[in-house]
Symmetry: C2
Subunit: 238 residues, 2 copies
């Protein structure tokens, strides 16, 4: 029975199987090794995610089995500014941290052996947000800012560190590259194929650090190049 990697998050997770998406890339990477289970919920913040995490994980695993890992990727919506056009998605920073703690606790209680990986919100390109707003935004002010996203990223890292949970600081990672605003972000918030690639590589690295890689996980059923052309059925005798 293949191990599972569950992706729990907001729209950046929900769209992870679009063209060049980080979820599809993970499923391709682990195509003979693990199942990637998509649990992305567009628009959700941690307040809503905490309400639904139990239902979202229902039936993900056969009784008695735990997923090998779960990514928890929220904060981009929590970090929406309270007094701007997406204010109803805003969650105050202390509550964001408590919600993340509660989500991770829930997962660790449900599946003690599962590797939980936190992912910070991505950086924000405010120019991109103004060019590609959600619905009406006549204010001329972006509903998200990079400073706010950075504060939530730091808060996410703090929760990870206090709990000994691996974390991907995608907010900082992306900003190490010149022109990150345009090469990694499609609309100032969601990822381009390049942005997806960066995230994919970070997830693969964190999984590897936890002992979960193509080298350590068994392939499901005999691989073609291990099958003897002179006696193929030998590989299927068990």
């Amino acid at each position: 029975m293949r191990p599972k990697l569950v992706l729990f998050g907001d729209s950046i997770t929900e769209e992870a199987f679009g063209d060049g998406g980080w979820g599809a890339a993970l499923a391709h990477h682990f195509s003979r090794t693990a199942d990637v289970v998509l649990r992305g919920y567009s628009g959700y913040n941690t307040r809503w995610a905490l309400r639904v995490v139990e239902r979202a994980m229902d039936g993900v695993c056969v009784e008695g089995k735990s997923p090998m890992a779960v990514t928890v990727f929220f904060g981009a919506n929590d970090a929406s500014l309270a007094d701007r056009s997406s204010g109803f998605q805003h969650v105050p920073l202390p509550e964001y941290q408590n919600n993340l703690r509660a989500i991770c606790s829930f997962l660790k209680h449900l599946w003690p052996s599962t590797v939980v990986i936190l992912i910070t919100p991505p950086p924000i390109d405010e120019d991109g947000r103004l060019r590609y707003p959600f619905g009406d935004n006549p204010s001329g002010l972006p509903e998200r800012t990079n400073v706010s996203a950075g504060a939530y990223a730091k808060a996410c890292i703090a929760v990870a560190n206090e709990s000994g949970i691996p974390v991907i600081d995608i907010w900082s990672k992306m900003q190490q590259f010149p022109n990150w605003e345009k090469i990694f972000l499609r609309d100032g918030l969601h990822l381009t194929a390049g942005g997806n690639r960066v995230l994919f590589e970070e997830v693969v690295e964190r999984l590897r650090n936890a002992g979960l890689s193509l080298e350590t996980l068994p392939a499901d059923l005999p691989l073609f190049y291990d099958i003897d052309p002179n006696d193929p059925l030998k590989s299927f005798s068990n």
Copy 2:
């Protein structure tokens, strides 16, 4: 609990989550609706697939639940010519049909309510096979021909028709387009992004014909645009 769509097949299934892949496109299409489970085994013919189908499906579904659908996509390897460089993958036509029947019977016995969809082998571009051979092929003759693939496609359709199983005749479908050899096939056998798109659309149509579509399947948890911005938690009260 989300319904599942299982993709069972050879390398064209195993690589279905690569860039532009038909499996990734299905997972994206059903991102809030269904889980797509990858069970692709590169190089396998129906003789080997029949030996492993029980193990391949082990643990796919939680006890008592059936997947909504399974695609069964073999034949490209069976149709390798017996006396050429991939001869050890060849399966004679009558055995191919019997193996397909046995695989479908197994699935229908295991999961009586599941929609099984057969997919014929794709057409073959012999020029492409000579340009991109597997390993050594000094003969100058392609290990697969389009005529042979066509015979296996017709045999697959016959099995589907005798059992009342929906079938995707991707061999014929692709050849309706000019320059199908290059626009749909990467190496004379495996699919380009365009070929993946054709297959994706065919699978979506067959699922729709069986009553399985975004219109009929419930979304998992409240959709963002259904959440009241003035009272978001109302959507999460149950």
